[in-house]
């Protein structure tokens, strides 16, 4: 039987649900926690939050530019503001507000991109965010995070609430497996090694870490290849120390992301490696520069090799 993300995610929840639960927990004891939504209460699982804390949720309607500008204004007055909207709209429609009102003005808004990447599946490209890492990486004063599992999501939200710099956090709505029972540290800018290996390193981010782990299992089971798996939850600032250590081992490196192959995790890693004289064999797995195939998130992942089989095949190609 092929392992699937669903059957290793038993008893775990979607990161989206962890996000909304964590926010409710925070809001109970902190009246400065404010959620701003753009008709995204339902898709953000924020209906219970709105019922419990009606004074702590600001609805602007379907108006993402205003969402981010209003959030910045609230943050400037001392509120801990979570601006919640589908990642596709938040980071494209409101990019100038993110750049100027949040990052440049240093208003520490927590930008929450829900249903990120290709989570919306067959709804198509209008609803996909395959550009967000690329564009947000170029904006000064913004932390960019894609938590992989429930633990990372909860930690990212808790940290974001207390941090005084702007943060973008994006995640999907699929049930995610717990990456590690042991590795219980989380800080922005520090990747988590969730599996140690010696032959190849797979660096995933967000919902691609789960298939990376499945691929590592398959490589060990079927090919006796031992893979390191990293959850590089923070795209910026990137964990250069960890990258340096991985590269120094000489292992081939594969990056996997739910994002365009341009400008995201893979190119960020490649840029660091090449400029620091590391010449490890290297491959970027992501969504290629084409009209994205129609399908569910899982079908799209499988189509482009963001899967147990696809990642394992890429690893075999580099190791041999």
């Amino acid at each position: 039987m092929n392992a699937t993300i669903e059957n290793i995610a038993v008893s775990q929840r979607a990161n989206l649900e962890v996000f909304s639960g964590t926010l409710q927990h925070l809001a109970q004891s902190d009246r400065d926690i404010i959620v701003v939504t753009s008709d995204s209460r339902g898709s953000g699982k924020l209906v219970p939050f709105g019922q419990k804390f009606p004074e702590q949720i600001i609805e602007v309607g379907i108006a993402e530019q205003n969402l981010v500008g209003v959030a910045a204004g609230l943050a400037s007055a001392g509120k801990k503001v979570f601006a919640v909207s589908p990642a596709c709209f938040l980071t494209a429609r409101a990019l100038e507000q993110i750049k100027n009102d949040v990052a440049y003005s240093d208003n520490p808004v927590k930008l929450i991109g829900i249903s990120a990447g290709v989570s919306y599946g067959a709804l198509g490209s209008t609803h996909h965010s395959l550009h967000d890492f690329a564009v947000l990486r170029t904006i000064n004063n913004l932390i960019v995070v894609a938590p992989a599992d429930n633990f990372e999501t909860e930690q990212a939200i808790l940290l974001a609430a207390e941090t005084d710099v702007p943060v973008y956090i994006r995640f999907g709505k699929k049930q995610m497996p717990l990456l590690s029972e042991e590795e219980k540290t989380f800080e922005f800018g520090k990747g988590r090694v969730v599996r140690e290996g010696s032959d190849v390193t797979i660096i995933g981010t967000g919902e691609t870490v789960a298939p990376a782990i499945l691929a590592a299992d398959k490589l060990e089971r079927e090919h006796n290849i031992s893979a390191t798996v990293v959850s590089m939850h923070t795209i910026k600032p990137l964990d250069y120390d960890l990258l340096r250590n991985i590269a120094a081992s000489g292992q081939p490196i594969i990056t996997v992301e739910e994002h365009s192959i341009y400008g995201g995790l893979g190119e960020a890693c490649a840029s660091f490696l090449i400029q620091n004289d590391f010449h490890n064999r290297f491959k970027i797995i992501g969504i290629p520069d084409e009209y994205t195939v129609t399908g569910s998130q899982t079908e799209i992942f499988n189509h482009y090799g963001i899967s147990e089989g696809g990642i394992a095949a890429a690893a075999l190609g580099l190791v041999r």
Binding site: N66, G69, S76, D101
Partner: protein, 279 residues
């Protein structure tokens, strides 16, 4: 504590400010001359009469806020902030110079600036968020923003206008610097936004018109805020681009034209003469 100024003193201040705007633009060889001269009377009344903010209270959560949506006329803001003691006026000698904080649009690196603006259509949303926070915290501060008529086609203004009335932000006042000119021509010809009063009224705002260069009318309108309880207020300030320098008035080229030596001397001479009549 803000010294209470008479309308006559405010009128004198405006002339002084106009001269300083021209001085620093002339020295920097850069700046948005026409628009700075059209909005300066508004800023003068806001900072010297209406708002409870100064250098000593800028960190107070209860201060009134001013967010300049038409960020490009920053020279007007710098001159007023300097005169209110937020920073030494001599800092403006560095305007737009290499490594200066005093760049061509407002930034928070300059003491007294609330938000970094310059891209148009941002100030109203920022103001709405700040005003909502005031309501949530039951604080009495008010939020003021100056919009340009040229920036109104930015859709984000109208998104923000909706939220302002939806949340009944009577602690918010937008002042439209309606100088009727923008970089490529008359605003009515570029993208007509009139009747702008009816548009904002339809969006749930309480609207008044003033002569944006008449200190008395500005004072009266700002003293009457909010115009209606439960509604955001809009003051449509009818202004003249380049106001106070006759050869600049209503002339498109002075949007970001910089006077040469003779032009600068002529402008100062004209303003000096005006100053004498106000003394």
């Amino acid at each position: 504590m803000l010294k209470v100024m008479s309308e006559k003193e405010l009128a004198q201040k405006s002339v002084e400010y106009r001269k300083k705007i021209l001085k620093y633009i002339y020295q920097a060889k850069a700046g948005h001359t026409g628009g700075s001269l059209s909005c300066i009377d508004i800023l003068n009344v806001l900072y010297n009469h209406t708002m409870n903010v100064g250098p000593d209270t800028f960190d107070s959560p209860d201060r009134d806020r001013y967010i300049q949506s038409k960020g490009h006329t920053v020279e007007a803001l710098y001159v007023v902030l300097a005169s209110r003691g937020f920073f030494p006026e001599s800092d403006l000698e560095t305007l737009c110079k290499y490594q200066s904080h005093y760049i061509g649009h407002p930034t928070r690196k300059v003491h007294g600036v609330e938000q970094n603006t310059g891209a148009l259509g941002h100030g109203l949303s920022l103001s709405v968020g700040t005003a909502i926070a005031g309501k949530l915290d039951k604080r009495d501060y008010r939020v003021f923003t100056v919009l340009g008529d040229g920036e109104l086609p930015e859709g984000s203004n109208w998104e923000a206008a909706l939220s302002a009335s939806h949340y009944k932000l009577d602690n918010l006042c937008a002042i439209l610097d309606k100088n009727t000119l923008q970089i490529s021509g008359p605003t009515s010809a570029v993208c007509n936004t009139d009747p702008v009063d009816e548009k904002f009224e339809a969006f749930g705002w309480a609207v008044r018109h003033v002569d944006g260069h008449d200190i008395g009318e500005l004072v009266t309108a700002l003293d009457a805020l909010p115009f209606e309880e439960g509604k955001p207020s809009l003051i449509i300030a009818h202004t003249v681009k380049g106001k106070g320098v006759s050869y600049m008035e209503n002339q498109l080229k002075w949007h970001h034209g910089v006077p040469d030596k003779q032009q600068y001397a002529d402008a100062i001479q004209e303003l000096d003469a005006l100053e004498v009549t106000l003394a």
